[in-house]
Protein backbone atom coordinates (compact mmCIF):
# COMPACT_ATOMS: atom_id res chain seq x y z
CA UNK A 1 0.00 0.00 0.00
CA UNK A 2 2.76 2.35 1.08
CA UNK A 3 4.76 1.45 -1.99
CA UNK A 4 1.77 2.19 -4.24
CA UNK A 5 1.40 5.64 -2.67
CA UNK A 6 5.11 6.26 -3.12
CA UNK A 7 4.81 5.28 -6.78
CA UNK A 8 1.88 7.67 -7.30
CA UNK A 9 3.76 10.56 -5.68
CA UNK A 10 6.75 9.80 -7.87
CA UNK A 11 4.54 9.92 -10.97
CA UNK A 12 3.18 13.32 -9.99
CA UNK A 13 6.64 14.77 -9.43
CA UNK A 14 7.25 17.90 -11.44
CA UNK A 15 9.78 17.83 -14.24
CA UNK A 16 13.01 19.67 -13.46
CA UNK A 17 13.28 23.39 -14.09
CA UNK A 18 14.39 24.21 -17.62
CA UNK A 19 17.30 26.52 -16.90
CA UNK A 20 17.55 28.08 -20.33
CA UNK A 21 13.83 28.93 -20.43
CA UNK A 22 13.96 30.24 -16.87
CA UNK A 23 16.86 32.51 -17.79
CA UNK A 24 14.76 33.82 -20.67
CA UNK A 25 11.89 34.52 -18.26
CA UNK A 26 14.26 36.44 -15.98
CA UNK A 27 15.63 38.48 -18.88
CA UNK A 28 12.13 39.42 -20.03
CA UNK A 29 11.25 40.37 -16.47
CA UNK A 30 14.27 42.66 -16.39
CA UNK A 31 12.88 44.52 -19.38
CA UNK A 32 14.28 42.86 -22.50
CA UNK A 33 11.12 43.31 -24.57
CA UNK A 34 13.09 42.41 -27.70
CA UNK A 35 13.17 38.79 -26.52
CA UNK A 36 9.38 38.65 -26.55
CA UNK A 37 9.41 39.99 -30.11
CA UNK A 38 11.99 37.40 -31.10
CA UNK A 39 9.95 34.60 -29.55
CA UNK A 40 6.87 35.90 -31.34
CA UNK A 41 8.55 35.97 -34.73
CA UNK A 42 10.62 32.85 -34.35
CA UNK A 43 7.69 30.54 -33.66
CA UNK A 44 4.77 32.33 -35.39
CA UNK A 45 5.09 30.34 -38.60
CA UNK A 46 5.59 27.08 -36.71
CA UNK A 47 2.57 27.74 -34.53
CA UNK A 48 0.40 28.58 -37.55
CA UNK A 49 1.28 25.22 -39.09
CA UNK A 50 1.05 23.36 -35.79
CA UNK A 51 -2.35 24.73 -34.79
CA UNK A 52 -3.68 24.39 -38.34
CA UNK A 53 -3.18 20.63 -38.02
CA UNK A 54 -5.17 20.60 -34.77
CA UNK A 55 -8.08 23.02 -35.26
CA UNK A 56 -10.79 23.77 -37.81
CA UNK A 57 -10.18 27.51 -38.00
CA UNK A 58 -8.64 30.33 -40.05
CA UNK A 59 -4.98 31.51 -40.08
CA UNK A 60 -6.14 34.90 -38.74
CA UNK A 61 -7.74 33.17 -35.79
CA UNK A 62 -4.59 31.18 -35.11
CA UNK A 63 -2.51 34.34 -35.31
CA UNK A 64 -4.85 35.89 -32.71
CA UNK A 65 -4.26 32.88 -30.45
CA UNK A 66 -0.51 33.29 -30.86
CA UNK A 67 -0.70 36.98 -29.96
CA UNK A 68 -2.83 36.18 -26.92
CA UNK A 69 -0.38 33.51 -25.83
CA UNK A 70 2.68 35.74 -26.22
CA UNK A 71 1.15 38.85 -24.62
CA UNK A 72 -0.30 36.87 -21.69
CA UNK A 73 3.07 35.18 -21.22
CA UNK A 74 4.68 38.63 -21.07
CA UNK A 75 2.11 39.97 -18.60
CA UNK A 76 2.50 37.03 -16.25
CA UNK A 77 6.27 37.43 -16.29
CA UNK A 78 6.05 41.15 -15.58
CA UNK A 79 3.60 40.61 -12.72
CA UNK A 80 5.95 37.95 -11.32
CA UNK A 81 3.29 35.26 -11.54
CA UNK A 82 5.60 33.32 -13.84
CA UNK A 83 9.17 33.12 -12.65
CA UNK A 84 10.35 29.73 -13.88
CA UNK A 85 9.62 27.20 -16.63
CA UNK A 86 9.83 23.45 -16.59
CA UNK A 87 9.76 23.09 -20.37
CA UNK A 88 10.98 25.03 -23.38
CA UNK A 89 9.46 28.52 -23.74
CA UNK A 90 8.13 27.61 -27.19
CA UNK A 91 6.39 24.47 -25.85
CA UNK A 92 4.79 26.57 -23.13
CA UNK A 93 3.60 29.18 -25.64
CA UNK A 94 2.19 26.51 -27.96
CA UNK A 95 0.30 25.05 -25.02
CA UNK A 96 -1.13 28.48 -24.19
CA UNK A 97 -2.17 29.14 -27.79
CA UNK A 98 -3.75 25.69 -27.97
CA UNK A 99 -5.69 26.36 -24.77
CA UNK A 100 -6.85 29.80 -26.02
CA UNK A 101 -8.27 28.24 -29.18
CA UNK A 102 -10.02 25.56 -27.13
CA UNK A 103 -11.33 28.18 -24.70
CA UNK A 104 -12.80 30.15 -27.58
CA UNK A 105 -14.69 27.17 -28.91
CA UNK A 106 -12.54 26.21 -31.88
CA UNK A 107 -13.24 22.69 -33.01
CA UNK A 108 -10.44 20.18 -32.65
CA UNK A 109 -9.34 17.96 -35.52
CA UNK A 110 -8.59 14.33 -34.92
CA UNK A 111 -4.86 13.87 -34.66
CA UNK A 112 -2.94 10.62 -34.40
CA UNK A 113 0.12 11.97 -32.76
CA UNK A 114 0.79 14.27 -29.84
CA UNK A 115 3.82 16.29 -28.91
CA UNK A 116 5.18 17.95 -25.80
CA UNK A 117 2.76 20.91 -25.89
CA UNK A 118 -0.27 18.58 -26.11
CA UNK A 119 1.08 16.49 -23.25
CA UNK A 120 1.77 19.57 -21.15
CA UNK A 121 -1.79 20.82 -21.55
CA UNK A 122 -3.23 17.39 -20.83
CA UNK A 123 -1.05 16.96 -17.74
CA UNK A 124 -1.87 20.28 -16.09
CA UNK A 125 -4.62 22.36 -17.73
CA UNK A 126 -4.77 24.59 -14.62
CA UNK A 127 -1.56 26.34 -15.69
CA UNK A 128 -3.20 27.52 -18.90
CA UNK A 129 -6.46 28.44 -17.17
CA UNK A 130 -4.62 30.78 -14.83
CA UNK A 131 -3.05 32.54 -17.81
CA UNK A 132 -6.28 33.79 -19.28
CA UNK A 133 -8.03 34.78 -16.09
CA UNK A 134 -8.69 38.33 -17.22
CA UNK A 135 -12.17 37.49 -18.44
CA UNK A 136 -14.23 40.62 -17.99
CA UNK A 137 -17.72 41.09 -19.25
CA UNK A 138 -17.86 42.98 -22.51
CA UNK A 139 -19.63 46.09 -21.17
CA UNK A 140 -16.95 46.62 -18.50
CA UNK A 141 -14.19 46.02 -21.05
CA UNK A 142 -15.64 48.68 -23.36
CA UNK A 143 -16.07 51.14 -20.50
CA UNK A 144 -12.49 50.70 -19.31
CA UNK A 145 -11.16 51.02 -22.84
CA UNK A 146 -13.16 54.21 -23.42
CA UNK A 147 -11.99 55.61 -20.07
CA UNK A 148 -8.29 55.21 -20.79
CA UNK A 149 -8.74 56.74 -24.25
CA UNK A 150 -9.93 59.97 -22.58
CA UNK A 151 -6.55 60.41 -20.89
CA UNK A 152 -3.82 62.43 -22.61
CA UNK A 153 -1.40 60.31 -24.69
CA UNK A 154 1.40 61.20 -22.28
CA UNK A 155 -0.58 59.98 -19.27
CA UNK A 156 -1.54 56.79 -21.15
CA UNK A 157 2.07 56.09 -22.02
CA UNK A 158 3.36 56.82 -18.52
CA UNK A 159 0.77 54.58 -16.89
CA UNK A 160 1.48 51.76 -19.34
CA UNK A 161 5.22 52.07 -18.75
CA UNK A 162 4.72 51.90 -15.00
CA UNK A 163 1.85 49.45 -14.51
CA UNK A 164 2.03 47.25 -17.64
CA UNK A 165 5.68 47.20 -18.62
CA UNK A 166 6.89 47.54 -15.02
CA UNK A 167 9.33 50.41 -15.65
CA UNK A 168 11.07 51.85 -12.59
CA UNK A 169 10.40 55.46 -11.58
CA UNK A 170 13.96 56.41 -12.57
CA UNK A 171 13.44 54.99 -16.07
CA UNK A 172 10.18 56.91 -16.51
CA UNK A 173 11.85 60.06 -15.20
CA UNK A 174 14.54 59.74 -17.87
CA UNK A 175 12.17 58.94 -20.73
CA UNK A 176 9.70 61.73 -19.97
CA UNK A 177 12.44 64.17 -18.97
CA UNK A 178 11.34 64.92 -15.43
CA UNK A 179 13.72 66.69 -13.09
CA UNK A 180 13.54 64.23 -10.25
CA UNK A 181 11.80 61.07 -9.05
CA UNK A 182 9.38 63.00 -6.82
CA UNK A 183 7.91 64.97 -9.70
CA UNK A 184 7.68 61.75 -11.75
CA UNK A 185 5.81 59.96 -8.95
CA UNK A 186 3.51 62.96 -8.53
CA UNK A 187 2.71 63.00 -12.27
CA UNK A 188 2.00 59.28 -12.26
CA UNK A 189 -0.31 59.69 -9.26
CA UNK A 190 -2.15 62.55 -10.99
CA UNK A 191 -2.61 60.46 -14.15
CA UNK A 192 -3.90 57.49 -12.16
CA UNK A 193 -6.24 59.72 -10.17
CA UNK A 194 -7.54 61.21 -13.40
CA UNK A 195 -8.18 57.74 -14.81
CA UNK A 196 -10.07 56.72 -11.69
CA UNK A 197 -12.21 59.87 -11.89
CA UNK A 198 -13.05 59.14 -15.53
CA UNK A 199 -14.00 55.54 -14.71
CA UNK A 200 -16.14 56.76 -11.81
CA UNK A 201 -17.92 59.31 -14.01
CA UNK A 202 -18.53 56.82 -16.81
CA UNK A 203 -19.90 54.24 -14.39
CA UNK A 204 -22.40 56.73 -12.97
CA UNK A 205 -23.71 57.53 -16.46
Amino acid sequence: MGEKKKKETKEKELPPINEEATKLVAAIHEGQLGLIEELYDLYLKKFLNWADKRFYTTPGDIEDAWQEAVTSFYMKIKSEKLTELRCKASTFLFMLGHYWLLKNGRKLKRIWWTDEADKLLAADPVIAVSFFDDDIWEEERLLLRAAIQVLSPKCQKMLIRRHFEGYKIAEIMKEFEYKNENSTTASLATCLKELKEIIKKMTKK
Binding site: L48, M75, R145
Partner: protein, 290 residues
Protein backbone atom coordinates in the same frame (compact mmCIF):
# COMPACT_ATOMS: atom_id res chain seq x y z
CA UNK B 1 -8.71 58.98 0.73
CA UNK B 2 -5.30 59.62 2.31
CA UNK B 3 -2.01 59.19 0.45
CA UNK B 4 -1.12 56.44 2.89
CA UNK B 5 -4.28 54.47 2.03
CA UNK B 6 -3.70 54.89 -1.70
CA UNK B 7 -0.18 53.55 -1.29
CA UNK B 8 -1.51 50.63 0.74
CA UNK B 9 -4.05 49.77 -1.98
CA UNK B 10 -1.35 49.93 -4.65
CA UNK B 11 0.90 47.64 -2.59
CA UNK B 12 -1.93 45.17 -2.07
CA UNK B 13 -2.56 44.80 -5.80
CA UNK B 14 1.16 44.55 -6.46
CA UNK B 15 1.35 41.65 -3.95
CA UNK B 16 3.84 43.62 -1.91
CA UNK B 17 2.15 43.22 1.50
CA UNK B 18 3.19 40.68 4.08
CA UNK B 19 0.76 38.08 5.37
CA UNK B 20 -0.34 40.11 8.44
CA UNK B 21 -0.69 43.33 6.44
CA UNK B 22 -2.70 41.54 3.77
CA UNK B 23 -5.11 40.11 6.33
CA UNK B 24 -5.53 43.53 7.93
CA UNK B 25 -6.18 45.02 4.49
CA UNK B 26 -8.86 42.45 3.70
CA UNK B 27 -10.43 42.96 7.12
CA UNK B 28 -10.65 46.68 6.44
CA UNK B 29 -12.12 46.03 2.99
CA UNK B 30 -14.88 44.03 4.64
CA UNK B 31 -15.66 46.70 7.22
CA UNK B 32 -15.00 50.06 5.56
CA UNK B 33 -17.20 50.62 2.50
CA UNK B 34 -15.35 53.79 1.36
CA UNK B 35 -12.04 51.96 1.50
CA UNK B 36 -13.50 49.00 -0.37
CA UNK B 37 -14.89 51.27 -3.07
CA UNK B 38 -11.50 52.96 -3.52
CA UNK B 39 -9.71 49.61 -3.67
CA UNK B 40 -12.10 48.29 -6.30
CA UNK B 41 -11.74 51.49 -8.31
CA UNK B 42 -7.98 51.06 -8.21
CA UNK B 43 -8.36 47.49 -9.43
CA UNK B 44 -10.54 48.68 -12.34
CA UNK B 45 -8.00 51.36 -13.26
CA UNK B 46 -5.23 48.72 -13.26
CA UNK B 47 -7.37 46.47 -15.45
CA UNK B 48 -7.93 49.36 -17.87
CA UNK B 49 -4.17 49.96 -18.10
CA UNK B 50 -3.45 46.25 -18.50
CA UNK B 51 -6.04 45.76 -21.24
CA UNK B 52 -4.88 48.82 -23.15
CA UNK B 53 -1.24 47.86 -22.73
CA UNK B 54 -1.99 44.41 -24.05
CA UNK B 55 -3.88 45.88 -27.00
CA UNK B 56 -0.97 48.17 -27.89
CA UNK B 57 1.50 45.33 -27.54
CA UNK B 58 -0.53 43.13 -29.87
CA UNK B 59 -0.72 45.95 -32.39
CA UNK B 60 3.00 46.49 -32.15
CA UNK B 61 3.71 42.80 -32.68
CA UNK B 62 1.31 42.73 -35.63
CA UNK B 63 2.64 45.79 -37.42
CA UNK B 64 6.28 44.95 -36.99
CA UNK B 65 8.32 43.35 -39.74
CA UNK B 66 9.26 39.93 -38.47
CA UNK B 67 12.65 39.63 -36.84
CA UNK B 68 14.65 37.02 -38.62
CA UNK B 69 17.08 35.26 -36.34
CA UNK B 70 20.71 35.90 -37.13
CA UNK B 71 22.39 32.71 -38.30
CA UNK B 72 24.92 31.44 -35.79
CA UNK B 73 28.47 31.82 -37.07
CA UNK B 74 29.78 28.44 -38.13
CA UNK B 75 33.46 27.94 -37.78
CA UNK B 76 34.05 24.82 -39.85
CA UNK B 77 33.32 26.31 -43.32
CA UNK B 78 35.89 29.02 -42.54
CA UNK B 79 38.40 26.44 -41.44
CA UNK B 80 37.84 24.36 -44.58
CA UNK B 81 38.09 27.43 -46.83
CA UNK B 82 41.22 28.70 -45.09
CA UNK B 83 42.76 25.23 -45.30
CA UNK B 84 41.95 24.97 -49.00
CA UNK B 85 43.41 28.42 -49.74
CA UNK B 86 46.58 27.60 -47.80
CA UNK B 87 46.90 24.29 -49.65
CA UNK B 88 46.54 26.04 -53.05
CA UNK B 89 49.05 28.78 -52.09
CA UNK B 90 51.51 26.18 -50.81
CA UNK B 91 51.00 24.08 -53.96
CA UNK B 92 51.68 27.02 -56.26
CA UNK B 93 54.72 28.00 -54.24
CA UNK B 94 56.10 24.45 -54.29
CA UNK B 95 55.41 24.07 -58.03
CA UNK B 96 57.10 27.37 -58.90
CA UNK B 97 60.04 26.53 -56.67
CA UNK B 98 60.41 23.14 -58.38
CA UNK B 99 60.17 24.66 -61.88
CA UNK B 100 62.53 27.52 -61.21
CA UNK B 101 65.72 27.47 -63.29
CA UNK B 102 69.06 27.66 -61.47
CA UNK B 103 70.01 31.30 -60.90
CA UNK B 104 72.28 32.85 -63.51
CA UNK B 105 75.77 33.86 -62.45
CA UNK B 106 75.92 37.55 -61.53
CA UNK B 107 76.37 39.76 -64.61
CA UNK B 108 78.69 42.73 -64.48
CA UNK B 109 76.61 45.90 -64.22
CA UNK B 110 77.80 48.67 -66.57
CA UNK B 111 78.60 51.88 -64.75
CA UNK B 112 76.22 54.77 -65.49
CA UNK B 113 77.34 57.48 -67.87
CA UNK B 114 78.48 60.46 -65.99
CA UNK B 115 77.23 63.03 -68.49
CA UNK B 116 73.89 61.44 -69.14
CA UNK B 117 70.98 63.62 -70.15
CA UNK B 118 68.58 61.27 -68.51
CA UNK B 119 67.14 62.88 -65.41
CA UNK B 120 64.81 61.26 -62.95
CA UNK B 121 61.27 62.59 -63.46
CA UNK B 122 60.36 65.41 -61.08
CA UNK B 123 58.02 64.38 -58.26
CA UNK B 124 54.37 64.83 -59.10
CA UNK B 125 52.72 67.75 -57.33
CA UNK B 126 50.30 66.66 -54.62
CA UNK B 127 46.81 67.16 -56.01
CA UNK B 128 44.23 68.31 -53.49
CA UNK B 129 40.62 67.70 -54.40
CA UNK B 130 38.62 70.86 -54.94
CA UNK B 131 36.79 72.04 -51.84
CA UNK B 132 33.42 71.28 -53.44
CA UNK B 133 34.34 67.60 -53.64
CA UNK B 134 34.91 67.43 -49.89
CA UNK B 135 31.31 68.31 -49.21
CA UNK B 136 29.05 65.25 -49.10
CA UNK B 137 27.48 64.45 -52.42
CA UNK B 138 23.92 63.79 -51.25
CA UNK B 139 22.81 61.96 -54.37
CA UNK B 140 25.84 59.71 -54.36
CA UNK B 141 25.34 58.95 -50.68
CA UNK B 142 21.71 58.15 -51.43
CA UNK B 143 22.72 55.84 -54.25
CA UNK B 144 25.23 54.08 -51.98
CA UNK B 145 22.85 53.71 -49.06
CA UNK B 146 19.53 53.02 -50.73
CA UNK B 147 18.27 49.50 -50.95
CA UNK B 148 14.51 48.94 -51.12
CA UNK B 149 13.12 47.23 -48.03
CA UNK B 150 13.16 43.52 -48.62
CA UNK B 151 11.74 41.13 -46.05
CA UNK B 152 13.48 37.80 -45.83
CA UNK B 153 11.78 34.85 -47.46
CA UNK B 154 11.05 33.30 -44.08
CA UNK B 155 8.91 36.25 -43.15
CA UNK B 156 6.05 35.47 -45.46
CA UNK B 157 3.79 33.22 -43.47
CA UNK B 158 2.99 30.17 -45.51
CA UNK B 159 -0.30 29.35 -43.85
CA UNK B 160 -1.82 32.68 -44.65
CA UNK B 161 -2.28 31.35 -48.19
CA UNK B 162 -1.29 34.39 -50.16
CA UNK B 163 -2.54 32.87 -53.37
CA UNK B 164 -6.06 33.56 -52.20
CA UNK B 165 -5.13 37.04 -51.13
CA UNK B 166 -6.61 38.98 -53.96
CA UNK B 167 -9.31 41.55 -54.29
CA UNK B 168 -10.85 43.58 -51.49
CA UNK B 169 -11.68 40.61 -49.28
CA UNK B 170 -8.10 40.17 -48.06
CA UNK B 171 -7.39 39.96 -44.38
CA UNK B 172 -4.67 42.18 -42.93
CA UNK B 173 -2.28 39.26 -42.51
CA UNK B 174 -2.89 37.93 -46.01
CA UNK B 175 -2.48 41.40 -47.56
CA UNK B 176 0.72 41.99 -45.66
CA UNK B 177 2.10 38.64 -46.73
CA UNK B 178 1.25 39.31 -50.33
CA UNK B 179 3.00 42.70 -50.14
CA UNK B 180 6.03 41.16 -48.44
CA UNK B 181 6.20 38.57 -51.17
CA UNK B 182 5.99 41.24 -53.89
CA UNK B 183 8.71 43.29 -52.14
CA UNK B 184 10.82 40.15 -51.97
CA UNK B 185 10.35 39.65 -55.72
CA UNK B 186 10.94 43.37 -56.38
CA UNK B 187 7.55 43.72 -58.10
CA UNK B 188 6.89 47.27 -57.00
CA UNK B 189 4.27 48.28 -59.62
CA UNK B 190 2.29 45.14 -58.82
CA UNK B 191 2.57 45.96 -55.14
CA UNK B 192 1.07 49.43 -55.71
CA UNK B 193 -1.75 47.94 -57.79
CA UNK B 194 -2.50 45.43 -55.00
CA UNK B 195 -2.66 48.20 -52.38
CA UNK B 196 -5.07 50.18 -54.61
CA UNK B 197 -7.48 47.25 -54.53
CA UNK B 198 -7.52 47.00 -50.72
CA UNK B 199 -10.36 48.44 -48.63
CA UNK B 200 -9.74 51.98 -47.34
CA UNK B 201 -9.23 50.95 -43.70
CA UNK B 202 -6.52 48.49 -44.71
CA UNK B 203 -4.84 51.08 -46.93
CA UNK B 204 -4.40 53.33 -43.90
CA UNK B 205 -2.75 50.56 -41.86
CA UNK B 206 0.80 51.61 -41.01
CA UNK B 207 2.36 48.38 -42.27
CA UNK B 208 0.51 48.54 -45.60
CA UNK B 209 1.41 52.21 -46.00
CA UNK B 210 5.03 51.32 -45.38
CA UNK B 211 5.04 48.88 -48.28
CA UNK B 212 3.33 51.48 -50.48
CA UNK B 213 6.02 54.07 -49.67
CA UNK B 214 8.73 51.45 -50.21
CA UNK B 215 7.38 50.65 -53.68
CA UNK B 216 7.08 54.34 -54.59
CA UNK B 217 10.67 55.03 -53.55
CA UNK B 218 11.93 51.97 -55.39
CA UNK B 219 10.16 53.24 -58.53
CA UNK B 220 11.87 56.62 -58.12
CA UNK B 221 8.69 58.46 -57.01
CA UNK B 222 10.51 60.09 -54.09
CA UNK B 223 8.13 63.07 -53.76
CA UNK B 224 5.19 60.72 -53.16
CA UNK B 225 7.12 58.34 -50.91
CA UNK B 226 8.64 60.98 -48.60
CA UNK B 227 5.42 62.21 -46.88
CA UNK B 228 4.25 58.61 -46.38
CA UNK B 229 7.53 57.58 -44.73
CA UNK B 230 7.50 60.70 -42.57
CA UNK B 231 3.93 59.98 -41.45
CA UNK B 232 4.83 56.42 -40.43
CA UNK B 233 8.10 57.58 -38.87
CA UNK B 234 6.25 59.98 -36.58
CA UNK B 235 3.80 57.29 -35.47
CA UNK B 236 5.33 55.73 -32.37
CA UNK B 237 2.68 53.03 -32.19
CA UNK B 238 3.96 51.21 -35.26
CA UNK B 239 6.99 49.02 -35.23
CA UNK B 240 7.85 50.18 -38.76
CA UNK B 241 8.77 53.57 -37.32
CA UNK B 242 12.53 53.06 -37.31
CA UNK B 243 12.53 51.69 -40.88
CA UNK B 244 10.35 54.61 -41.98
CA UNK B 245 12.74 57.08 -40.30
CA UNK B 246 15.65 55.57 -42.24
CA UNK B 247 13.81 55.82 -45.56
CA UNK B 248 12.51 59.33 -44.73
CA UNK B 249 16.17 60.30 -44.26
CA UNK B 250 17.09 58.74 -47.62
CA UNK B 251 14.23 60.59 -49.35
CA UNK B 252 15.47 63.89 -47.89
CA UNK B 253 19.00 62.97 -48.96
CA UNK B 254 17.87 62.33 -52.50
CA UNK B 255 16.10 65.67 -52.58
CA UNK B 256 19.26 67.35 -51.24
CA UNK B 257 17.57 68.44 -48.01
CA UNK B 258 20.51 67.67 -45.71
CA UNK B 259 19.12 69.13 -42.44
CA UNK B 260 15.99 67.00 -42.82
CA UNK B 261 18.04 63.92 -43.65
CA UNK B 262 20.20 64.50 -40.57
CA UNK B 263 17.11 64.94 -38.38
CA UNK B 264 15.73 61.53 -39.40
CA UNK B 265 19.14 59.85 -39.20
CA UNK B 266 19.57 61.16 -35.66
CA UNK B 267 16.15 59.73 -34.83
CA UNK B 268 17.25 56.29 -36.06
CA UNK B 269 20.65 56.52 -34.37
CA UNK B 270 19.14 57.34 -31.00
CA UNK B 271 15.88 55.40 -31.36
CA UNK B 272 15.22 52.60 -28.93
CA UNK B 273 13.12 50.73 -31.51
CA UNK B 274 15.90 50.59 -34.11
CA UNK B 275 18.09 47.51 -34.33
CA UNK B 276 21.81 47.74 -33.65
CA UNK B 277 22.58 47.47 -37.39
CA UNK B 278 20.13 50.25 -38.25
CA UNK B 279 21.66 52.49 -35.59
CA UNK B 280 25.19 51.79 -36.87
CA UNK B 281 24.20 52.51 -40.49
CA UNK B 282 22.50 55.74 -39.47
CA UNK B 283 25.52 56.85 -37.45
CA UNK B 284 27.89 56.05 -40.30
CA UNK B 285 25.76 58.01 -42.79
CA UNK B 286 25.51 60.91 -40.34
CA UNK B 287 29.31 60.99 -40.05
CA UNK B 288 29.59 61.16 -43.83
CA UNK B 289 27.11 64.04 -43.93
CA UNK B 290 28.91 65.97 -41.22
Amino acid sequence: MSEQDLLLIEQYYRNELGEAERLAFEQRMAEDSNFREEALLHQRAMTAIRLYGKELMKKKLQDRPLVTPKPKPRIWPWMVTTGAVLAVVFGIFWWSEADEKPPLPPQPVPPPFVDTLHQPPPPLPTVHPPVAELKPDAKKLFADAFKPFKPSQDETVKSADTSKAQGSGMSRLASLNKLKQLAQEEKYSESLATIEQLPKELQSNAAIMFFKANSLLALGRTDEAAPLFEGIASNQQTAYASYAQWYAALCALKKGDLPRAKKWLRAVASGSDASETQRMEAKSLLEKLN
